[in-house]
């Protein structure tokens, strides 16, 4: 195509459209401006979208919600037995102990004739409650202290030494002394676990913070005078969300395991409130005993389902929390 032809074409176009018809002044519209400046991207909404688009995760999330709900309404359903009542044989009046699962006792009875079905759900309720409270506490206290410890240089030394002290005084001594002062109850148990559990979370967050605190973008932020609080919440934590979510998810099953130890040293829950930790521990002794193994299996299944669900939920959520995975 020759030069002349191009010019010719241009002229014909210019002639056919008038200049003022081509552009017009736009009115300033704040809403529109926002839409242009920012996308409709919201971090948490996207995370949620990616998360929920994983069918397994969605299923497990619903499962956990249903489980939690069920443990609360279970006692009010018809035909439910009390978790502590000992059932006796109507004629001999001896406890109906170690009955295998049947129509009357769906999960069988334990070694003194209590209904395992009721105990498992009552235990699940207690254990989940404790685990969730402890998980939240760990997250809030652990992350706050951990982030400060890692990011604020002058706090590093003092907090490191405080950490060393708290971490190295054997928990057993403190717990045994606590049994002296406090009575076994749900509150005591939560208190005992919360007392020391945040320490590990804090150290974990601190390590991650140290790794990224000296990266260039943080340096830049700092030079621009961004306050520490803002750097921590906007620059650091989003980076850590994925791994933090995973640890919180894992802390829930480990709290259930910790209960057993506390019960052993006498800080456990009173008999009136069964817990998953206790049920598994009692069942463990029956492992070599095929005819009574169901007493281990039922609570173990619940523990396993909770553990697996939280593990997978934690992992999927971690993946989803990474902005690079957002579409």
């Amino acid at each position: 195509m020759g030069k002349g032809a191009v010019n010719k074409l241009r002229n014909s176009i210019e002639n056919s459209i008038k200049e003022d018809e081509l552009f017009e002044f736009a009115e300033f519209d704040e809403e529109e401006a926002k839409r242009g400046g920012y996308s409709n991207y919201s971090y948490w909404r996207s995370t949620w979208k990616v998360f929920i688009s994983n069918r397994l995760a969605a299923f497990l999330l619903i499962l956990m919600a249903v489980l939690l709900l069920f443990t609360f309404i279970q006692p009010y359903l018809p035909n439910q037995k009390s978790p502590t009542k000992i059932h006796n044989h109507p004629e001999t009046n001896l406890p109906l102990k170690n009955l295998r699962p049947n129509e009357e006792f769906w999960f069988g009875t334990n070694s003194i004739g209590q209904d395992l079905w009721a105990r498992v759900w009552s235990g699940t309720r207690t254990s989940l409650m404790i685990a969730i409270i402890v998980g939240l506490w760990e997250a809030i206290v652990g992350i706050t202290i951990g982030a400060l410890w890692g990011y604020v240089r002058w706090l590093d030394r003092p907090i490191t030494e405080i950490y060393n002290i708290i971490n190295n005084i054997p928990k057993t001594i403190i717990l045994i002394l606590m049994t002296y002062i406090m009575k076994p109850s749900m509150f005591t148990m939560i208190f005992a676990i919360c007392l020391t559990s945040w320490i590990d979370m804090a150290r974990f967050v601190r390590n991650l913070t140290i790794i990224i605190r000296d990266r260039e973008y943080n340096l830049a932020s700092k030079c621009l005078g961004t306050p520490t609080r803002r750097i921590i919440t906007k620059n650091l934590l989003p980076y850590l969300v994925s791994v933090i979510m995973l640890t919180i998810a894992l802390s829930i099953p480990s709290t259930i395991g910790y209960e057993v130890f506390l019960t052993y040293i006498g800080l456990g829950l009173p008999v009136k409130t069964p817990s998953l930790g206790n049920l598994v521990n009692e069942g463990r002794l029956l492992i070599l005993n095929p005819s009574q193994r169901y007493q281990l299996i039922f609570p173990s299944i619940v523990v396993s389902v909770i553990t697996i669900s939280f593990y997978i939920l934690g992992n999927v959520f971690s993946d989803a929390a990474d902005p690079k995975n957002h579409v």
Binding site: I86, N88, N93, L94, P95, S111, P184, I265, G268, I287
Partner: protein, 614 residues
């Protein structure tokens, strides 16, 4: 992946090369050696038999060091290191002739010295030195003249203490007061000998391991690795070695012995294992395993439910209300007859719970007079064979108690029952007892409140300080005489404080029970009379429902290549812990055989005791 595996293999090899040094013990055995191997789950703290009071600890020393007297398998006293003995007419001076030619040997079997009467004097000297922290010194000084004064530093001249070597082979004990059961005490750890030179030589380290120890008994400890294993071998220099039939005893430490033991027994890796209650039913239904297990013999630990007469627990549980109630005989009797002990026992012994129940505080077969068991004496006999659980009587007493207490107490009466949260069995039992008694007596009458208390300091916090209304307690004997079972209830005891009961006052200002015990204690010459008087005192506690007898210790099931009826029999002391006299069975005893043997043993025992008393 292959490279990785190779790397791992190399790593394992390297690591095993720098692993802890292995021992050069010879493992090649000759065919005829009778070896007995067993797991144990609790490590001992010391071998020092002059210090410890723990059975598991002196059970070892019992096989290494002989005592003055022994018991045969029926419980008849027989010569040990003392060949003969006599007591003065006033019952105060005991003279014992020491066996000649018995040697002390070191851990590698070398002769160290001869056993002489001085060894008992030196042992006493060691025992009575407070710096040695002996936990059995009090038992020694409760009978021996001037021993307590010496221990407490009131006298410093040891020659004033009532133990003396008249010559190398004659030993003499002088007692504070006539003690009819003194002979049986000679079988306890605080009356075992120790070589004075050796004590001096090793000083503080005496009994800390197998090297710092001298042996004159049936076995020598060849290997002692705490939390790992112990190997006991027959002492070739033992004076009575013809009666030692097991040549080698291998004990392996395993904290999970209760879980792993049964499986190891089936595989033939051990010759003894306790069978946990939960497994018993399973094994009994399995024809291959049924014949492997048998019941255990019961012990002389006595378990009972105590009603507290001096309640000091929190206001929340209404101690004043309880105090009024507990002083009402009908109320106590209603509880007494309402406790279903079989139901309670199923938490510990689900299979055959009856074998451990006891209807008296002093267990059966504890002591006897000329073959007549103590529990068959006097009024006690009425209770020995009757189950206290009787719903009809319980309800009858409840109705009467209700009538009498109406307006005086608040119904339902709170019965505060703590338990030790360290024990799952106890926790279960507390729930069973609570629901069983409330169901029977009605929740408008009593309200049993069970309360989990931490194991730390449990006894101090609960029983000794009186912070309970109704509690499961236990007591083990200190010597072979019914007097030992009165200690918890006699004024000064820390069990249920019966001296605070209202009424039961005797003209001399003492409580009836105190007088009954005092009268029995004073009778030191006529043993038959003595037992009768003690039986009367014990019957009083049961009749008036101060205490509900519940059970004896021991029991359970085990799989074992030992015959439990071959062991020396004694309710107290070191003899029952000895392997001497035991033979290895080719196959374990089963339940039927056990019951047959038990019956046979009981008959033979009556004969043996009668014969011995002639």
């Amino acid at each position: 992946m292959k490279r990785l595996l190779a790397l791992m293999l190399v790593l394992i090899l390297v690591l095993s090369a720098c692993s802890p040094k292995t021992d050069e013990t010879s493992t090649d055995k000759e065919d005829e050696i009778a070896e007995y191997s067993v797991l144990y789950s609790g490590e001992i703290t010391t071998l020092n038999y002059l210090v410890t009071s723990t059975t598991a600890e002196f059970a070892l020393a019992a096989n290494f060091v002989d005592s003055l007297i022994d018991f045969d398998r029926y419980g008849v006293a027989v010569p040990g290191l003392a060949t003969e003995w006599e007591v003065s007419d006033d019952g105060l001076v005991w003279t014992l002739k020491i066996r000649e030619g018995v040697k002390w040997v070191t851990h590698d079997g070398e002769e160290y010295a001869e056993v002489t009467a001085h060894d008992w004097v030196d042992a006493a000297k060691y025992l009575l030195n407070p710096a040695n922290e002996s936990k059995t010194a009090n038992i020694f000084y409760s009978v021996i003249e001037n021993a307590e004064e010496y221990y407490k530093g009131e006298i410093t001249d040891f020659s004033q203490v009532g133990v003396r070597a008249v010559s190398d082979y004659v030993l003499e004990y002088k007692l504070k007061k006539p003690t009819p059961y003194f002979l049986s005490m000679l079988n306890y750890v605080c009356f075992l000998p120790a070589n004075g030179d050796f004590l001096e030589e090793v000083g503080d380290r005496f009994g800390t391991d197998n090297v710092n120890f001298l042996y004159n008994g049936a076995y020598i400890m060849e290997v002692f690795e705490p939390q790992s294993r112990r190997i006991l071998v027959k002492n070739e220099n033992y004076w009575d070695k013809d009666n030692v039939f097991i040549d080698r005893i291998v004990m392996t430490y395993n904290q999970e012995a209760a879980t792993l033991g049964p499986e190891l027994f089936v595989r033939g890796e051990v010759d003894y294992s306790g069978i946990p209650a939960s497994l018993v039913e399973e094994w009994m239904q399995d024809p291959a395993r049924k014949d492997l297990i048998r019941p255990n013999r019961t012990s002389f630990y006595s378990y009972f439910y105590a009603l507290n007469f001096d309640p000091k627990f929190d206001e929340e549980y209404e101690p004043e209300n309880w105090k009024i109630a507990v002083n009402n005989r009908n109320f106590r009797k209603s509880l007494f007859h309402a406790l279903d002990r079989v139901a309670a026992m199923t938490t510990a012994e689900p299979y055959n719970p009856e074998q451990r129940l006891s209807n008296t505080i002093t267990p059966k077969n504890f002591v006897n007079f000329e073959g007549k068991d103590y529990v068959e004496f006097g009024k006690l006999k009425e209770f020995t064979n009757t189950d206290s659980f009787n719903p009809d009587l319980a309800l009858k007493y409840r109705d009467e108690a209700k009538k009498e207490l109406e307006g005086k107490v608040k119904f339902p009466i709170i019965v505060y029952m703590p338990y030790n949260s360290g024990s799952t069995e106890w926790a279960n039992r507390a729930q069973v007892v609570e629901q069983q008694m409330e169901n029977l007596l009605g929740t408008d009458y009593i309200d049993i409140v069970i309360d989990a208390r931490p194991p730390t300091n449990f006894l101090s916090e609960v029983r000794r300080s009186g912070k309970y209304a109704f509690l499961e307690c236990n007591w083990g004997p200190d010597y072979a005489d019914p007097e030992t079972y009165t200690d918890p209830f006699y004024p000064g005891g820390t069990y249920n404080f019966p001296e605070y009961v209202e009424g039961y006052n005797d003209p001399n200002g003492e409580k009836r029970y105190t007088n009954l015990v005092d009268a029995a204690r004073a009778e030191v010459n006529d043993i038959e009379k003595r037992y009768e008087l003690f039986a009367e005192a014990e019957a009083f506690l049961i009749e008036e429902a101060f205490v509900i007898p519940y059970a004896v210790g021991g029991g359970g099931y085990s799989a074992s290549r030992l015959n439990p009826f071959e062991s020396m029999y004694s309710p107290f002391g070191v003899s029952p812990e000895r392997y001497k006299g035991h033979k290895l069975l080719d196959k374990p005893m089963n339940t039927e055989e056990f019951l047959q043997e038990l019956e046979k043993w009981e008959q033979e025992r009556v004969e043996a005791l009668k014969k011995a008393s002639q």
